[in-house]
Symmetry: C2
Subunit: 453 residues, 2 copies
């Protein structure tokens, strides 16, 4: 740890706590005032540290916070991307401490957004502060912190297109992923894409008494189970026609190389209380969460879901279903294949409406670039060992957009752990990870400037 980080770490945490206390949930309009509050908080911080042109940029949705420090136009420019919005906290009753009252326990910060992404994004702001205060900033830096990552970055594309001129840079730096452990650092070099869909089935035109009508009316809840159950075969393959057509085939040699990453299946199962391994036939657990696409129901509802019993055949049944994608699937095509397939298999007597929520492209990052080399060197110096390149199962749809619109590669220096429970109750982020992250980020700037010379 650098002396500056050591001397200021309590303040860093206290500031982060103030940010974590703001329930900036983007998926629910109820939290709009908190979205604004979180954006203002970031802008205020950037201003305080000495960033220029700090602006809360309005979009058609939640604002993007921008700020920059151009110390010399001839130096390389790092653009930091992160997000201040968070996932909903529910099921709230499963939290051991309130999701928006950050709590320290066993060296971890427990709060919604602790790891995803407020805590990780804030490492960049504090690394920037440290370099500013110590006169060690070796690159220009731009911040682009958005508020819609958890709802698919729906307006960031337009923002980038409109502000292209301001957003020139040499590399995008993102901390919104994980690492294997503090003992085994890793860098994310692949992300799955995402296609997030919603299905609404309608049976009879009103809710019916299941005694009087049961047996003679197609129940949309029963129909929904049939539709969804048919989307995978007994080997875990997805049955949507054309779904696998463009999936990248990884060579046996590459699969063998990936299999060397440290992974303890027994510990994985124990951590989640899983009886046995699960997934698509012919692939390992790590492959199933990285190089293979998936289909998961994320939400299912309809009929009476309260206490006790109600004998109803509802008019409507709903599901939220998402598919994780791999190169070279495109989310638009998969969303369309999904829609057509669902429409074709819905049973007689049921009307169907399929909606695309949002999507994102799968990404694979080149490991032979200056950017990757700089990150590699930063980790090696901070951790005393080289990081392992891994493909993550998650999605950061915006990475593909950065490449497409700005021509920039991203470096994903994530410091979260699998056990951080992001998107779950009791999300956490290790204080050691937070501080180590700040240190490693500073080292990235150092090595990147050296390598770009």
């Amino acid at each position: 740890m650098t002396p500056y980080i050591d001397q200021n770490k309590d303040r860093f945490l206290s500031e982060l706590f103030d940010l974590l206390k703001i329930p900036s949930v983007s998926t629910d309009v109820e939290y709009q005032p908190d979205i604004k509050k979180a954006a203002a908080f970031i802008a205020h911080q950037l201003n305080e540290i000495g960033a220029d042109k700090v602006e809360i940029c309005q979009t058609a949705g939640n604002p993007v916070v921008y700020g920059e420090k151009i110390i010399d136009p001839k130096l390389p420019t790092v653009m930091v991307y992160g997000h201040y919005d968070v996932q909903p906290a529910d099921p709230i009753e499963l939290w051991d401490s309130p999701p928006f009252e950050p709590t320290i326990k066993n060296g971890n910060i427990y709060a919604r957004g602790a790891s995803d992404d407020k805590g990780q994004m804030y490492m960049h702001i504090k690394a920037f502060e440290s370099m500013m205060k110590n006169n060690t900033l070796t690159c220009n830096v731009k911040f682009m912190i958005e508020g819609e990552e958890e709802i698919g970055s729906v307006n960031l594309g337009d923002f980038i297109k409109e502000r292209k001129a301001d957003l020139s840079a040499d590399v995008i730096l993102i901390s919104d992923t994980g690492m294997i452990s503090l003992d085994t650092p890793s860098i994310t070099v692949g992300l799955r894409g995402l296609s997030y869909m919603e299905v609404e089935l309608t049976g009879p035109n009103r809710d019916l008494h299941s005694g009087m009508y049961g047996g003679a009316v197609q129940n949309p809840l029963n129909a929904l189970t049939e539709v969804i159950a048919s989307l995978k075969d007994k080997d875990g393959h997805i049955t949507i026609p054309g779904f696998y057509d463009k999936v990248e085939i990884i060579s046996d040699a590459d699969r063998a190389k990936m299999a060397k990453a440290p992974f303890d299946l027994e510990a994985y199962k124990a951590a989640l209380d899983l009886e046995k391994e699960f997934g698509e036939k012919g692939y390992s657990t790590n492959e199933r969460t990285s190089i293979r696409p998936t289909l998961d129901v994320n939400g299912l509802w309809g009929g009476y879901t309260g206490e006790g019993a109600k004998t109803v055949i509802p008019s409507k049944a709903y599901a939220k279903i998402s598919m994780r994608l791999v190169p070279h699937q495109t989310w638009e095509e998969i969303s369309e294949l999904f829609t057509k397939h669902i429409e074709s298999i819905v049973p007689d007597g049921i009307r169907v409406k399929v909606t695309t929520h949002h999507g994102g492209m799968p990404v694979v990052i080149p490991t032979n670039s200056v950017e990757f080399e700089a990150a590699n060197a930063a980790y090696a110096e901070a951790f005393g060992k080289e990081p392992i390149p891994v493909r993550s199962g998650g999605s950061i749809p915006i990475v593909a957009l950065f490449k497409e619109e700005l021509g920039l590669d991203s470096v994903m220096m994530g410091f979260g752990l699998d056990s951080d429970a992001i998107h779950s109750p009791n999300e956490k982020f290790g204080i050691a990870n937070f501080l180590k992250g700040i240190e490693t980020i500073e080292l990235f700037y150092k090595h990147y400037a050296l390598l770009k010379k």
Copy 2:
């Protein structure tokens, strides 16, 4: 209509409205104060009219309101059964007028409980009033109005066993079913039984990020769809082993007789916006809702069900599933077969908990009894034509209990219509049905006393 009903009908309606305004929903503890209020309302009414021994009888659950008028121990005794509890009003947004603010439109009363069963139960109280005021009561009468019918009458069995001595009678009279129409009166002579179950599936021990874990973890929502979808085959037969073993086989001759009841399939489909007929292969729509058992999902939930998108693999998935039963299935056995079957088919990696909510036995009423004959004569006099005996698809579990514990047959004089939307938004009850019901009930007492002489 009798002169007394005609002169007092506005007051009858106004009183009924006061009762309908009380949201006495039994399935949700939140409404406990309203349950008490509704019970007190009934007790007050019985007292006012001149019933004796009026008592709000406490049980382990919601109270039973009792009251009686013994005019002569030598005369036959009619026991009126009804219920003051109602189904929840949700989905509340689909109501055209507030569910607990009764509204008259096109000759109908719109309110939760208008038909099931406050409106129908109240006909008996007003028929009693009419006979008391006009000195035309020809039988002794006992009232037993409970508050747990919509949650399976869970404590009425104990109540009956404890108070057996007070509950002696000659017949049970119930208005909690429907009729074909005001032009085609009918009497319910069969009810399906009910087995209401809840299934909880558990996958991983916490909610997971669907990107990081998707593909390697058994998702309980996906698993739930597989489990439920497998419960019926493509012909609509239920696949639970042993499910049909005790189902009564109705002779072709009896089926032919039943098929003569007036039924307009096109009108039925049009009323519900159904594209085509649906149900178990080899049976007609009327058979599917009367002489055949069913399995329907009444509620399904898990994961993120709010606005927008959340990429979660939840730890838990839930379903409420009920089966309607026919003679000679028993609900205890069916609940057990269901539980065992679900436990046996749950996929690897999923833990399951199956709970029995409540059940009720199927019932067939003899049509060659004095009771039935009296009802028949009452309808014939009130409507000018003989009623058609029909089997209803609904369940009144208590009817089997009355037979078993008190040795009494029930006469089900229901005046609701299929279009009443009981258990649904915009439940209604025709004012004409309400008034005709009072008239017919009075005539039942007259004919019953004559026939029992």
